[in-house]
């Protein structure tokens, strides 16, 4: 029997991370554009949530390797198939790379990486102005690319749900739809 939906664990992780990643992007651009007292808790939250999401994406990848994914509908044109594949790869890549860039750029600037609860992460790179500048720019511009890709992903998901109605959205929907129960 081929599954038509991602497993419950996969859907739970997908939606938890979706909320987390979107929150990270908003916290990121919000915190760096304010001098208000919120800046201090926001940046601590940014580091903490970013570290947690990094652990979660590692778990997610393991789960994906073991549990696989339901096949895309046969009716899907090859271009869309390719687009789906490439964009999912890119999303995974960014989920892995963004936290490492954040952690690396702080290390290169000799900032202590302090999370909520007084947890300290060790530096992963030596102090270096050149590295800091590179990673800082990468963290910033990849964050914008990440947001654009998520908008595209969101649009595609809604396109599947509302226009094509081909079951792709239901495959990741948090709750099953009644008329899909047969699966």
């Amino acid at each position: 029997m081929t599954r038509t939906r991602f497993t419950g664990v996969q859907r739970l992780i997908h939606w938890t991370m979706a909320v987390g990643i979107v929150a990270m992007l908003f916290i990121g651009v919000g915190m760096i554009s304010t001098i208000a007292p919120d800046y201090v808790p926001l940046i601590t939250l940014h580091r903490t949530l970013g570290a947690a999401l990094f652990l979660l994406v590692l778990v997610r990848i393991c789960v994906r390797l073991f549990q696989g994914a339901p096949p895309l509908p046969a009716s899907l044109p090859p271009v869309m198939r390719l687009g789906a594949k490439l964009s999912h790869w890119a999303l995974y890549g960014l989920m892995i790379v963004m936290p490492l860039l954040g952690w690396g750029m702080m290390s290169a600037a000799a900032y202590p990486v302090v999370l909520f609860g007084g947890i300290r992460l060790p530096p992963i790179l030596p102090q270096s102005d050149a590295l800091h500048t590179l990673l800082w720019a990468a963290h910033r511009w990849l964050a914008f690319a990440f947001f654009a890709l998520i908008l595209l992903h969101l649009a595609a998901a809604l396109f599947h749900a509302l226009v094509r109605r081909d079951g792709v959205f239901e495959a990741m929907a948090p709750l099953p739809r009644r008329d899909n129960e047969a699966a």
């Binding site: 201090v40 396109f159 094509r164």
Partner: protein, 351 residues
């Protein structure tokens, strides 16, 4: 299986999708401040620090002239009654710091800069890092970060603008009084350095108290008139402190002042009343002085919100504003390092 067929009129769903995407993008732009040009961002504050000719590339956007030092902090254990931070348990902890002048111009002559500062970092074996940036004035110039931004905008506009500024921010007069009357010294070693901002110390019982800290020099201050200081040369302070420390380590006592209920902990322009409990927590010993260009303090951000466990920010709005602005300054200056060679051009360094 009763899967519905593709909808025949896709216009409404497509409009819904377009709305959702556009709405998300707008929310993002709003959060980033792109739709609110009046928001006071760290970038704006840092830009306002720049002199008319633009910032000195590769250098700190404020307190740009400075020299590195290393040494140690000898903790006497008294501070443990106030905070659980390891730095207050008796012992000796490594220190990295920077003596500096409050000017955006790294080549300013010493006698032209009224305010002097110190950046300080103390690290402890538990991995905690405590950074602080302090000045010799006993109070800060203004009550809020917004007022500081206004000051930066008013000062270059001349006497009329400053008069209007002081009308709106009468707290400025306490600082101006100090600047006009306090004696100058001819050595960093004779200056006190005050944290001015309040922070919360938490003790082992979990009680938090608002405090401010200061470094009091062991050396006796010898007053000097600014024009006398000018005669000694534009970089006298750096030469003097390097020589003095080479001769003998220089010391400061760290004093923590504890607020009482009702004291204004949110406003660094207001001194707390006399008679507050003070605790001498240890001694800063400066043992070595090194040029900034390739020294260990160069690429350090003495961000006052970098604190060990046992110390937190209080209701004082400055540390957050400073943390945001210092990060921006740091991002900019480290990206410009090619304009500030690591080996000083005038240093005559030989292999």
């Amino acid at each position: 299986m009763s899967r519905p067929s593709p909808s025949r009129n896709p216009f409404i769903p497509l409009a819904v999708i377009a709305l959702v995407v556009a709405g998300s993008a707008a929310a993002f732009a709003y959060t980033a401040g792109w739709l609110s040009p009046q928001r006071l961002t760290p970038t704006k504050v840092v830009a306002a620090l720049a002199p008319p000719g633009g910032p000195a590339l590769g250098h700190r956007r404020n307190h740009a002239k400075g020299i590195c030092f290393t040494g140690e902090f000898q903790s006497n254990g008294n501070g443990a009654a106030l905070s659980t931070a390891q730095v207050f348990t008796p012992g000796t902890y490594p220190v990295l710091g920077r003596f500096n002048l409050a000017t955006p111009n790294p080549n300013a002559a010493d006698a032209t800069v009224r305010v002097r500062g110190m950046g300080l970092q103390i690290t402890t074996p538990d991995g905690d890092v405590w950074r602080s940036a302090m000045i010799d004035a006993p109070v800060f110039a203004v009550s809020t970060p917004q007022a500081f931004y206004e000051l930066l905008q008013s000062a270059p506009k001349g006497a009329e603008a400053m008069k209007a500024f002081i009308g709106r921010h009468p707290e400025f007069t306490a600082f101006a009084g100090w600047a006009g009357t306090a004696p100058w010294t001819s050595s960093y070693a004779e200056d006190p350095f005050n944290g001015l901002n309040s922070f919360l110390f938490t003790d082992s019982a979990g009680t938090s108290r608002a405090v401010r800290w200061s470094l009091r020099p062991e050396a006796t201050p010898v007053p000097i008139a600014p024009d006398e200081l000018a005669k000694r040369g534009p970089n006298y302070l750096e030469q003097e402190i390097a020589q003095r420390v080479a001769g003998a380590p220089q010391r400061w006592t760290m004093v923590v002042t504890v607020a009482e209920p009702g004291d204004n902990t949110a406003d660094p322009s207001k001194a707390w009343p006399q008679g507050r409990r003070t605790v001498e927590v240890g001694t800063l010993v400066v043992k070595q002085v090194e040029a900034e260009a390739n020294g260990p303090c160069r690429d350090i951000n003495f961000d006052p919100a970098i604190l060990p466990r046992g110390i937190r920010v209080s209701d004082d709005p400055f540390p957050a504003a400073r943390s945001a602005a210092y990060a921006r300054s740091y991002d900019q200056r480290t990206a410009e390092s090619k304009y500030y060679p690591r080996t000083p051009v005038t240093g005559g360094a030989k292999p």
